[in-house]
Protein backbone atom coordinates (compact mmCIF):
# COMPACT_ATOMS: atom_id res chain seq x y z
CA UNK A 1 0.00 0.00 0.00
CA UNK A 2 2.89 2.41 0.74
CA UNK A 3 4.15 2.53 -2.84
CA UNK A 4 1.03 3.60 -4.73
CA UNK A 5 0.16 6.04 -1.94
CA UNK A 6 3.61 7.60 -2.06
CA UNK A 7 3.58 7.70 -5.84
CA UNK A 8 0.17 9.36 -5.91
CA UNK A 9 1.44 12.02 -3.54
CA UNK A 10 4.39 12.79 -5.81
CA UNK A 11 2.17 13.02 -8.88
CA UNK A 12 -0.36 15.32 -7.24
CA UNK A 13 2.40 17.55 -5.87
CA UNK A 14 4.08 17.69 -9.27
CA UNK A 15 0.84 18.71 -10.94
CA UNK A 16 0.23 21.36 -8.30
CA UNK A 17 3.76 22.73 -8.80
CA UNK A 18 3.31 22.84 -12.55
CA UNK A 19 0.08 24.73 -12.28
CA UNK A 20 1.25 27.19 -9.66
CA UNK A 21 4.91 27.88 -10.22
CA UNK A 22 5.67 27.69 -13.95
CA UNK A 23 4.25 31.13 -14.49
CA UNK A 24 5.84 32.88 -11.50
CA UNK A 25 7.95 35.88 -12.62
CA UNK A 26 11.28 34.62 -11.22
CA UNK A 27 10.87 31.37 -13.11
CA UNK A 28 10.10 33.14 -16.38
CA UNK A 29 12.87 35.64 -15.81
CA UNK A 30 15.74 33.39 -14.78
CA UNK A 31 14.55 30.19 -16.35
CA UNK A 32 13.44 31.42 -19.73
CA UNK A 33 14.56 34.92 -20.62
CA UNK A 34 17.98 34.79 -19.07
CA UNK A 35 19.44 31.87 -21.06
CA UNK A 36 18.00 33.38 -24.23
CA UNK A 37 19.73 36.68 -23.47
CA UNK A 38 22.94 34.82 -22.82
CA UNK A 39 22.55 33.14 -26.16
CA UNK A 40 22.11 36.40 -28.00
CA UNK A 41 24.88 38.09 -26.06
CA UNK A 42 27.50 35.44 -26.64
CA UNK A 43 26.63 33.66 -29.83
CA UNK A 44 24.76 35.95 -32.14
CA UNK A 45 26.76 38.45 -34.12
CA UNK A 46 30.08 36.88 -33.26
CA UNK A 47 32.17 34.64 -35.33
CA UNK A 48 31.48 31.68 -33.10
CA UNK A 49 30.41 28.70 -35.05
CA UNK A 50 26.76 28.16 -34.13
CA UNK A 51 26.74 24.53 -35.03
CA UNK A 52 29.77 23.74 -32.91
CA UNK A 53 28.45 25.62 -29.95
CA UNK A 54 24.85 24.52 -30.18
CA UNK A 55 25.20 21.49 -27.85
CA UNK A 56 26.67 23.73 -25.18
CA UNK A 57 23.87 26.22 -25.64
CA UNK A 58 21.26 23.50 -25.34
CA UNK A 59 22.93 22.30 -22.16
CA UNK A 60 22.81 25.83 -20.77
CA UNK A 61 19.15 26.16 -21.66
CA UNK A 62 18.37 22.88 -19.96
CA UNK A 63 20.40 23.88 -16.94
CA UNK A 64 18.65 27.20 -16.44
CA UNK A 65 15.13 26.04 -17.07
CA UNK A 66 15.32 22.90 -14.98
CA UNK A 67 17.00 24.55 -12.01
CA UNK A 68 14.78 27.63 -11.89
CA UNK A 69 11.55 26.11 -10.57
CA UNK A 70 12.92 24.15 -7.60
CA UNK A 71 14.41 27.00 -5.56
CA UNK A 72 11.16 28.90 -5.58
CA UNK A 73 8.63 26.35 -4.42
CA UNK A 74 9.37 25.59 -0.77
CA UNK A 75 10.17 29.19 0.27
CA UNK A 76 7.10 30.38 -1.56
CA UNK A 77 4.88 27.84 0.17
CA UNK A 78 6.38 28.70 3.53
CA UNK A 79 5.78 32.39 2.99
CA UNK A 80 2.22 31.83 1.82
CA UNK A 81 1.69 29.51 4.81
CA UNK A 82 0.58 26.62 2.68
CA UNK A 83 3.55 24.41 3.53
CA UNK A 84 2.25 23.11 6.84
CA UNK A 85 -1.03 22.15 5.28
CA UNK A 86 0.78 20.43 2.43
CA UNK A 87 2.77 18.44 5.00
CA UNK A 88 -0.37 17.32 6.76
CA UNK A 89 -1.77 15.75 3.62
CA UNK A 90 -0.84 12.10 3.10
CA UNK A 91 2.63 12.97 1.80
CA UNK A 92 6.09 12.99 3.32
CA UNK A 93 8.84 15.53 3.01
CA UNK A 94 10.50 13.16 0.55
CA UNK A 95 7.50 13.18 -1.75
CA UNK A 96 7.44 16.97 -1.59
CA UNK A 97 11.11 17.19 -2.61
CA UNK A 98 10.65 14.65 -5.38
CA UNK A 99 7.53 16.46 -6.59
CA UNK A 100 9.58 19.67 -6.78
CA UNK A 101 12.38 17.90 -8.66
CA UNK A 102 10.02 16.33 -11.17
CA UNK A 103 8.21 19.62 -11.77
CA UNK A 104 11.57 21.28 -12.46
CA UNK A 105 12.65 18.45 -14.74
CA UNK A 106 9.43 18.57 -16.77
CA UNK A 107 9.82 22.33 -17.20
CA UNK A 108 13.42 21.85 -18.31
CA UNK A 109 12.63 19.13 -20.81
CA UNK A 110 9.62 20.96 -22.20
CA UNK A 111 11.32 24.29 -22.85
CA UNK A 112 14.57 22.78 -24.09
CA UNK A 113 12.73 20.50 -26.49
CA UNK A 114 10.90 23.53 -27.85
CA UNK A 115 14.17 25.39 -28.28
CA UNK A 116 15.73 22.40 -29.99
CA UNK A 117 12.79 21.95 -32.36
CA UNK A 118 12.73 25.66 -33.16
CA UNK A 119 16.44 25.63 -33.88
CA UNK A 120 15.96 22.88 -36.45
CA UNK A 121 14.50 25.52 -38.74
CA UNK A 122 17.53 27.80 -38.54
CA UNK A 123 20.69 25.80 -38.09
CA UNK A 124 21.62 22.38 -39.33
CA UNK A 125 22.01 20.61 -36.00
CA UNK A 126 23.07 17.03 -36.38
CA UNK A 127 22.52 14.26 -33.89
CA UNK A 128 24.93 11.39 -34.02
CA UNK A 129 23.28 9.30 -31.35
CA UNK A 130 19.57 9.59 -30.63
CA UNK A 131 19.90 7.37 -27.57
CA UNK A 132 22.61 9.50 -26.01
CA UNK A 133 20.66 12.64 -26.89
CA UNK A 134 17.58 11.37 -25.06
CA UNK A 135 19.72 10.25 -22.14
CA UNK A 136 21.36 13.66 -21.98
CA UNK A 137 17.95 15.27 -21.81
CA UNK A 138 16.70 13.03 -19.06
CA UNK A 139 19.80 12.88 -16.87
CA UNK A 140 20.52 16.53 -17.51
CA UNK A 141 17.17 17.87 -16.39
CA UNK A 142 17.09 15.47 -13.48
CA UNK A 143 20.43 16.64 -12.11
CA UNK A 144 19.68 20.29 -12.76
CA UNK A 145 16.25 20.03 -11.15
CA UNK A 146 17.86 18.27 -8.19
CA UNK A 147 20.29 21.18 -7.95
CA UNK A 148 17.24 23.46 -7.92
CA UNK A 149 15.70 21.58 -5.01
CA UNK A 150 19.02 21.68 -3.17
CA UNK A 151 19.31 25.44 -3.67
CA UNK A 152 15.89 25.86 -2.05
CA UNK A 153 16.76 23.96 1.08
CA UNK A 154 18.89 26.41 3.09
CA UNK A 155 16.24 29.10 2.88
CA UNK A 156 13.32 29.60 5.17
CA UNK A 157 10.46 31.68 3.92
CA UNK A 158 11.90 34.40 1.72
CA UNK A 159 11.66 33.73 -2.02
CA UNK A 160 13.76 36.81 -2.99
CA UNK A 161 16.69 35.64 -0.88
CA UNK A 162 16.53 32.21 -2.42
CA UNK A 163 16.45 33.59 -5.94
CA UNK A 164 19.52 35.73 -5.24
CA UNK A 165 21.33 32.83 -3.58
CA UNK A 166 20.49 30.39 -6.36
CA UNK A 167 21.62 32.81 -9.06
CA UNK A 168 24.82 33.42 -7.16
CA UNK A 169 25.52 29.72 -7.49
CA UNK A 170 24.10 29.18 -10.97
CA UNK A 171 25.69 32.05 -12.90
CA UNK A 172 29.33 31.24 -12.18
CA UNK A 173 28.70 27.64 -13.18
CA UNK A 174 28.01 28.55 -16.80
CA UNK A 175 31.44 30.16 -17.13
CA UNK A 176 33.42 27.22 -15.85
CA UNK A 177 31.59 24.40 -17.59
CA UNK A 178 32.92 24.50 -21.10
CA UNK A 179 30.06 26.43 -22.64
CA UNK A 180 31.82 29.52 -23.92
CA UNK A 181 35.30 28.04 -23.88
CA UNK A 182 35.37 24.41 -24.94
CA UNK A 183 36.83 21.99 -22.43
CA UNK A 184 39.59 21.07 -24.84
CA UNK A 185 40.89 24.61 -24.75
CA UNK A 186 40.86 24.82 -20.96
CA UNK A 187 43.85 24.13 -18.79
CA UNK A 188 45.23 24.46 -15.27
CA UNK A 189 42.93 25.73 -12.54
CA UNK A 190 40.18 26.44 -15.05
CA UNK A 191 40.05 22.83 -16.05
CA UNK A 192 40.16 21.67 -12.44
CA UNK A 193 37.24 23.97 -11.70
CA UNK A 194 35.35 22.58 -14.67
CA UNK A 195 35.65 19.08 -13.27
CA UNK A 196 33.78 20.25 -10.18
CA UNK A 197 30.82 21.60 -12.11
CA UNK A 198 27.93 19.25 -12.81
CA UNK A 199 27.14 21.26 -15.90
CA UNK A 200 30.48 20.25 -17.48
CA UNK A 201 29.35 16.66 -17.79
CA UNK A 202 26.06 17.68 -19.31
CA UNK A 203 27.78 19.87 -21.91
CA UNK A 204 30.14 17.03 -22.64
CA UNK A 205 27.29 14.56 -23.01
CA UNK A 206 25.45 16.83 -25.43
CA UNK A 207 28.66 17.18 -27.42
CA UNK A 208 28.97 13.42 -27.53
CA UNK A 209 25.36 13.00 -28.63
CA UNK A 210 25.33 15.73 -31.27
CA UNK A 211 28.81 16.06 -32.68
CA UNK A 212 30.22 12.76 -31.57
CA UNK A 213 33.24 14.29 -29.87
CA UNK A 214 33.60 14.46 -26.13
CA UNK A 215 36.30 14.84 -23.53
CA UNK A 216 35.04 12.11 -21.25
CA UNK A 217 33.44 8.92 -22.39
CA UNK A 218 29.61 9.23 -22.48
CA UNK A 219 29.38 6.47 -19.88
CA UNK A 220 31.43 8.56 -17.47
CA UNK A 221 29.21 11.58 -18.13
CA UNK A 222 26.06 9.58 -17.51
CA UNK A 223 27.37 8.09 -14.30
CA UNK A 224 28.48 11.49 -13.06
CA UNK A 225 25.09 13.07 -13.81
CA UNK A 226 23.17 10.21 -12.20
CA UNK A 227 25.44 10.26 -9.17
CA UNK A 228 25.18 14.04 -8.87
CA UNK A 229 21.37 13.83 -8.97
CA UNK A 230 21.30 11.31 -6.15
CA UNK A 231 23.74 13.31 -4.04
CA UNK A 232 21.82 16.54 -4.59
CA UNK A 233 18.49 14.97 -3.69
CA UNK A 234 19.88 13.36 -0.55
CA UNK A 235 21.55 16.61 0.47
CA UNK A 236 18.34 18.56 -0.16
CA UNK A 237 16.45 16.07 1.97
CA UNK A 238 18.94 16.32 4.82
CA UNK A 239 18.97 20.13 4.87
CA UNK A 240 15.22 20.47 4.41
CA UNK A 241 14.54 18.12 7.30
CA UNK A 242 16.76 20.27 9.51
CA UNK A 243 15.12 23.46 8.31
CA UNK A 244 11.61 22.10 8.54
CA UNK A 245 10.40 24.25 11.42
CA UNK A 246 11.93 27.45 10.03
CA UNK A 247 9.09 29.58 8.82
CA UNK A 248 6.46 26.88 9.21
Amino acid sequence: MEIPLALRGIIVITRKNMRLYYTKPPVLMFGLLFPLFMFFAFFVGRKLDLVTFFPAFLAMMLFFTASSVGPLITPWEKREKTYERLLSYPVTQDSIILGDVVAGAVFGIGISLLVWIASLFFIPVAITSIGLFALAFILGTLSCAALGALLASPASDSPPNVIIFSNLIRFPLIFISGIFVPLTQMQGPGLALAFCSPLTYLVDLFNAAMSGTSVFSPAVDCCMLAGISVVFILAARLIQTRNLVKGL
Binding site: E2, K16, R19, T82, E84, P90, L248
Partner: protein, 305 residues
Protein backbone atom coordinates in the same frame (compact mmCIF):
# COMPACT_ATOMS: atom_id res chain seq x y z
CA UNK B 1 -9.87 1.60 19.66
CA UNK B 2 -8.63 5.08 20.51
CA UNK B 3 -8.57 7.66 17.77
CA UNK B 4 -5.39 9.27 19.07
CA UNK B 5 -2.90 7.83 21.47
CA UNK B 6 0.11 9.96 22.24
CA UNK B 7 2.64 8.80 24.75
CA UNK B 8 5.42 10.80 26.36
CA UNK B 9 5.87 13.37 23.64
CA UNK B 10 8.85 15.65 24.10
CA UNK B 11 9.85 18.40 21.70
CA UNK B 12 12.64 20.92 22.19
CA UNK B 13 13.52 23.96 20.12
CA UNK B 14 17.10 24.75 21.08
CA UNK B 15 17.01 25.30 24.80
CA UNK B 16 13.21 25.72 24.94
CA UNK B 17 11.26 22.60 25.82
CA UNK B 18 8.01 23.37 24.02
CA UNK B 19 6.32 20.07 24.82
CA UNK B 20 7.41 18.26 27.93
CA UNK B 21 6.24 14.68 28.34
CA UNK B 22 2.70 14.96 27.05
CA UNK B 23 0.57 11.81 26.97
CA UNK B 24 -3.03 11.92 25.90
CA UNK B 25 -5.76 9.65 24.66
CA UNK B 26 -8.67 10.71 22.51
CA UNK B 27 -11.52 8.20 22.38
CA UNK B 28 -13.27 7.42 19.16
CA UNK B 29 -16.32 9.58 18.51
CA UNK B 30 -15.67 12.31 21.06
CA UNK B 31 -14.97 15.99 20.72
CA UNK B 32 -11.73 16.62 22.54
CA UNK B 33 -10.89 20.17 23.56
CA UNK B 34 -7.28 21.23 23.89
CA UNK B 35 -6.84 24.41 25.89
CA UNK B 36 -3.96 26.38 27.31
CA UNK B 37 -2.50 29.88 27.55
CA UNK B 38 -0.51 31.34 24.63
CA UNK B 39 2.82 29.71 23.93
CA UNK B 40 2.32 26.60 26.02
CA UNK B 41 2.90 24.17 23.18
CA UNK B 42 -0.59 23.41 21.87
CA UNK B 43 0.35 23.94 18.26
CA UNK B 44 3.61 22.07 18.72
CA UNK B 45 1.72 19.13 20.23
CA UNK B 46 -0.80 19.12 17.42
CA UNK B 47 1.94 19.24 14.80
CA UNK B 48 3.35 16.09 16.30
CA UNK B 49 -0.05 14.42 16.26
CA UNK B 50 -0.49 15.29 12.58
CA UNK B 51 2.96 14.09 11.62
CA UNK B 52 4.24 17.52 10.59
CA UNK B 53 6.89 17.48 13.32
CA UNK B 54 8.79 14.47 14.58
CA UNK B 55 8.91 14.35 18.39
CA UNK B 56 12.33 14.16 20.05
CA UNK B 57 10.93 11.20 21.92
CA UNK B 58 7.57 9.54 22.35
CA UNK B 59 5.10 8.01 19.92
CA UNK B 60 1.77 8.85 18.32
CA UNK B 61 -0.82 6.34 17.15
CA UNK B 62 -3.74 7.34 14.96
CA UNK B 63 -6.43 4.64 15.01
CA UNK B 64 -3.68 2.28 16.06
CA UNK B 65 -1.30 3.27 13.25
CA UNK B 66 2.09 4.64 14.29
CA UNK B 67 2.33 7.94 12.43
CA UNK B 68 6.10 8.01 12.26
CA UNK B 69 6.40 4.51 10.90
CA UNK B 70 3.46 4.67 8.51
CA UNK B 71 2.89 8.37 7.92
CA UNK B 72 0.85 7.99 4.75
CA UNK B 73 -1.70 5.54 6.13
CA UNK B 74 -2.06 7.50 9.34
CA UNK B 75 -2.48 10.79 7.49
CA UNK B 76 -5.17 9.24 5.29
CA UNK B 77 -7.28 8.90 8.44
CA UNK B 78 -7.34 12.58 9.25
CA UNK B 79 -8.29 16.01 8.12
CA UNK B 80 -6.15 18.84 9.46
CA UNK B 81 -6.59 22.57 9.78
CA UNK B 82 -3.29 24.01 10.94
CA UNK B 83 -3.13 27.22 12.96
CA UNK B 84 -2.08 29.74 10.32
CA UNK B 85 -3.21 27.61 7.46
CA UNK B 86 -4.25 29.13 4.22
CA UNK B 87 -5.26 27.48 1.03
CA UNK B 88 -3.51 28.33 -2.24
CA UNK B 89 -4.32 31.96 -3.00
CA UNK B 90 -3.60 31.58 -6.71
CA UNK B 91 -6.07 28.75 -7.09
CA UNK B 92 -9.82 29.13 -7.08
CA UNK B 93 -11.91 27.71 -4.27
CA UNK B 94 -12.95 24.88 -6.52
CA UNK B 95 -9.38 24.09 -7.56
CA UNK B 96 -8.28 24.08 -3.94
CA UNK B 97 -10.96 21.59 -3.00
CA UNK B 98 -10.16 19.46 -5.99
CA UNK B 99 -6.45 19.46 -5.11
CA UNK B 100 -7.28 18.39 -1.59
CA UNK B 101 -9.49 15.59 -2.86
CA UNK B 102 -6.70 14.39 -5.12
CA UNK B 103 -4.28 14.39 -2.22
CA UNK B 104 -6.60 12.00 -0.42
CA UNK B 105 -6.98 9.89 -3.54
CA UNK B 106 -10.68 10.52 -4.11
CA UNK B 107 -11.99 9.46 -7.51
CA UNK B 108 -13.05 12.35 -9.72
CA UNK B 109 -16.81 11.73 -9.64
CA UNK B 110 -16.80 11.51 -5.86
CA UNK B 111 -14.75 14.68 -5.63
CA UNK B 112 -17.02 16.67 -7.90
CA UNK B 113 -20.08 15.58 -5.95
CA UNK B 114 -18.56 16.63 -2.64
CA UNK B 115 -17.43 19.95 -4.08
CA UNK B 116 -20.95 20.74 -5.31
CA UNK B 117 -22.26 19.83 -1.86
CA UNK B 118 -19.90 22.30 -0.23
CA UNK B 119 -20.72 25.20 -2.43
CA UNK B 120 -24.41 24.84 -1.85
CA UNK B 121 -23.80 24.55 1.89
CA UNK B 122 -21.12 27.14 2.50
CA UNK B 123 -22.80 29.78 0.42
CA UNK B 124 -19.88 30.60 -1.84
CA UNK B 125 -21.38 29.30 -5.07
CA UNK B 126 -20.95 32.52 -6.99
CA UNK B 127 -17.26 32.66 -6.06
CA UNK B 128 -16.26 29.10 -6.77
CA UNK B 129 -14.22 29.99 -9.83
CA UNK B 130 -12.47 33.05 -8.37
CA UNK B 131 -8.97 32.94 -6.91
CA UNK B 132 -9.03 32.56 -3.14
CA UNK B 133 -6.54 35.44 -2.76
CA UNK B 134 -9.40 37.93 -2.92
CA UNK B 135 -11.55 36.21 -0.30
CA UNK B 136 -12.18 37.56 3.19
CA UNK B 137 -10.75 35.76 6.18
CA UNK B 138 -14.01 34.02 6.97
CA UNK B 139 -14.49 32.84 3.39
CA UNK B 140 -10.93 31.53 3.28
CA UNK B 141 -11.48 29.64 6.50
CA UNK B 142 -14.60 28.02 5.05
CA UNK B 143 -12.65 26.84 2.05
CA UNK B 144 -9.88 25.69 4.35
CA UNK B 145 -12.28 23.61 6.43
CA UNK B 146 -13.93 22.20 3.35
CA UNK B 147 -10.49 21.10 2.13
CA UNK B 148 -9.89 19.28 5.40
CA UNK B 149 -13.16 17.36 5.44
CA UNK B 150 -13.63 16.67 1.76
CA UNK B 151 -12.73 13.00 2.23
CA UNK B 152 -14.94 12.55 5.31
CA UNK B 153 -12.04 11.79 7.64
CA UNK B 154 -12.67 9.66 10.73
CA UNK B 155 -10.50 12.11 12.65
CA UNK B 156 -10.48 15.88 12.33
CA UNK B 157 -7.84 18.07 13.99
CA UNK B 158 -8.36 21.82 14.15
CA UNK B 159 -6.00 24.46 15.54
CA UNK B 160 -7.98 27.54 16.56
CA UNK B 161 -10.44 27.30 13.68
CA UNK B 162 -12.66 30.12 14.88
CA UNK B 163 -10.14 32.76 15.91
CA UNK B 164 -10.81 36.04 14.19
CA UNK B 165 -14.12 35.04 12.64
CA UNK B 166 -17.44 36.84 12.89
CA UNK B 167 -20.48 35.25 14.47
CA UNK B 168 -21.88 33.78 11.25
CA UNK B 169 -18.62 32.23 10.13
CA UNK B 170 -17.94 30.98 13.63
CA UNK B 171 -21.34 29.32 13.80
CA UNK B 172 -20.81 27.74 10.44
CA UNK B 173 -17.51 26.30 11.63
CA UNK B 174 -19.01 25.03 14.88
CA UNK B 175 -21.97 23.51 13.05
CA UNK B 176 -19.63 21.79 10.65
CA UNK B 177 -17.68 20.36 13.57
CA UNK B 178 -20.91 19.15 15.19
CA UNK B 179 -22.12 17.62 11.93
CA UNK B 180 -18.87 15.80 11.37
CA UNK B 181 -19.04 14.50 14.91
CA UNK B 182 -22.63 13.32 14.49
CA UNK B 183 -21.57 11.44 11.40
CA UNK B 184 -19.03 9.60 13.50
CA UNK B 185 -15.83 11.63 13.22
CA UNK B 186 -13.62 12.19 16.20
CA UNK B 187 -12.69 15.84 16.71
CA UNK B 188 -9.52 17.27 18.24
CA UNK B 189 -10.10 20.96 18.78
CA UNK B 190 -7.52 23.48 19.93
CA UNK B 191 -9.11 26.71 21.04
CA UNK B 192 -8.82 29.79 23.20
CA UNK B 193 -12.56 30.13 23.40
CA UNK B 194 -13.46 28.45 26.66
CA UNK B 195 -17.17 28.80 26.13
CA UNK B 196 -16.79 26.94 22.86
CA UNK B 197 -14.91 24.13 24.57
CA UNK B 198 -17.50 24.06 27.33
CA UNK B 199 -20.45 23.61 25.03
CA UNK B 200 -18.83 21.36 22.42
CA UNK B 201 -16.41 19.03 24.13
CA UNK B 202 -16.88 15.83 26.04
CA UNK B 203 -13.34 15.97 27.32
CA UNK B 204 -11.16 18.98 27.91
CA UNK B 205 -7.43 18.85 28.29
CA UNK B 206 -5.53 21.82 29.66
CA UNK B 207 -1.91 22.32 28.80
CA UNK B 208 0.39 24.67 30.66
CA UNK B 209 4.08 25.28 29.97
CA UNK B 210 4.34 22.15 27.88
CA UNK B 211 2.71 19.84 30.43
CA UNK B 212 -0.81 18.56 30.82
CA UNK B 213 -2.23 19.98 34.03
CA UNK B 214 -5.80 18.72 33.84
CA UNK B 215 -7.88 16.41 31.71
CA UNK B 216 -11.53 15.68 32.42
CA UNK B 217 -15.07 16.46 31.36
CA UNK B 218 -15.93 20.18 31.56
CA UNK B 219 -18.47 19.61 34.34
CA UNK B 220 -16.03 17.72 36.52
CA UNK B 221 -13.32 20.31 35.92
CA UNK B 222 -15.69 23.02 37.12
CA UNK B 223 -16.49 21.05 40.25
CA UNK B 224 -12.82 20.52 41.01
CA UNK B 225 -12.79 24.10 42.14
CA UNK B 226 -15.70 24.90 44.29
CA UNK B 227 -15.89 28.15 42.46
CA UNK B 228 -18.26 30.84 43.54
CA UNK B 229 -21.43 31.25 41.58
CA UNK B 230 -22.79 34.45 40.25
CA UNK B 231 -26.10 36.22 39.80
CA UNK B 232 -26.61 38.79 37.09
CA UNK B 233 -29.36 41.29 37.57
CA UNK B 234 -30.56 44.48 35.91
CA UNK B 235 -33.18 47.00 36.99
CA UNK B 236 -35.30 49.54 35.20
CA UNK B 237 -33.46 52.41 36.90
CA UNK B 238 -29.94 52.96 38.19
CA UNK B 239 -29.19 51.66 41.68
CA UNK B 240 -26.22 52.20 43.95
CA UNK B 241 -23.82 49.71 45.38
CA UNK B 242 -25.52 50.05 48.81
CA UNK B 243 -28.33 47.91 47.51
CA UNK B 244 -26.01 44.91 47.51
CA UNK B 245 -24.74 45.20 51.03
CA UNK B 246 -26.41 42.12 52.40
CA UNK B 247 -25.64 38.78 53.92
CA UNK B 248 -24.46 36.15 51.40
CA UNK B 249 -23.19 38.64 48.86
CA UNK B 250 -19.41 38.40 48.54
CA UNK B 251 -18.89 41.07 45.94
CA UNK B 252 -20.90 43.10 43.45
CA UNK B 253 -19.59 44.47 40.19
CA UNK B 254 -21.35 46.83 37.88
CA UNK B 255 -21.00 45.56 34.31
CA UNK B 256 -22.54 47.87 31.78
CA UNK B 257 -26.24 48.18 32.43
CA UNK B 258 -26.30 45.28 34.87
CA UNK B 259 -24.77 44.08 38.11
CA UNK B 260 -22.86 40.90 38.65
CA UNK B 261 -23.09 39.53 42.17
CA UNK B 262 -20.78 36.81 43.43
CA UNK B 263 -22.02 34.49 46.11
CA UNK B 264 -21.72 31.00 47.48
CA UNK B 265 -25.41 30.94 48.34
CA UNK B 266 -27.45 31.94 45.27
CA UNK B 267 -30.74 30.98 46.93
CA UNK B 268 -30.33 33.50 49.72
CA UNK B 269 -29.25 36.24 47.30
CA UNK B 270 -32.17 35.70 44.93
CA UNK B 271 -34.70 35.88 47.75
CA UNK B 272 -33.06 39.02 49.11
CA UNK B 273 -32.99 40.74 45.69
CA UNK B 274 -36.61 39.98 44.93
CA UNK B 275 -37.77 41.12 48.39
CA UNK B 276 -35.73 44.30 48.26
CA UNK B 277 -36.93 45.20 44.77
CA UNK B 278 -40.51 44.67 45.83
CA UNK B 279 -40.15 46.91 48.87
CA UNK B 280 -38.49 49.73 46.96
CA UNK B 281 -40.74 49.18 43.92
CA UNK B 282 -37.88 48.73 41.49
CA UNK B 283 -38.60 46.55 38.48
CA UNK B 284 -36.21 43.71 37.79
CA UNK B 285 -35.72 43.61 34.02
CA UNK B 286 -33.50 40.53 33.91
CA UNK B 287 -32.12 37.96 36.30
CA UNK B 288 -29.77 35.07 35.58
CA UNK B 289 -27.72 32.81 37.76
CA UNK B 290 -24.66 31.01 36.53
CA UNK B 291 -22.84 28.12 38.08
CA UNK B 292 -19.10 27.82 38.37
CA UNK B 293 -17.60 28.59 34.98
CA UNK B 294 -15.03 26.63 33.04
CA UNK B 295 -13.20 29.87 32.52
CA UNK B 296 -12.73 30.26 36.25
CA UNK B 297 -11.49 26.68 36.51
CA UNK B 298 -9.13 27.30 33.59
CA UNK B 299 -7.65 30.38 35.19
CA UNK B 300 -7.16 28.63 38.52
CA UNK B 301 -5.60 25.56 36.94
CA UNK B 302 -3.15 27.46 34.80
CA UNK B 303 -2.36 29.89 37.61
CA UNK B 304 -1.39 27.39 40.23
CA UNK B 305 0.64 25.18 37.94
Amino acid sequence: MNAIEASHLIKRFGSVTAVNDVSLTVCEGEIFGFLGPNGTGKTTTMRQLTGVLTPDSGAVRINGIDIHRHPLEAKMQMGVIPENSTVYGDLSAEQNLSLSGQMYGMPRADRDKRIDEFFSRMGLSEKRKLPVRGFSKGMKQRVSIACAIIHRPPLLLLDEPTSGLDVQSRRLVIDTIRDMNEQGSTIFLTTHNIEEANTLCQTVCILNKGKIVAQDSPERLKKMFNTTQSVEVSFDRPVTRDLFAAEGILRAESCGDKWKIFTDNPDQVLKYLVGRAERESITITSLTTSGPSLEEAFVRITECA
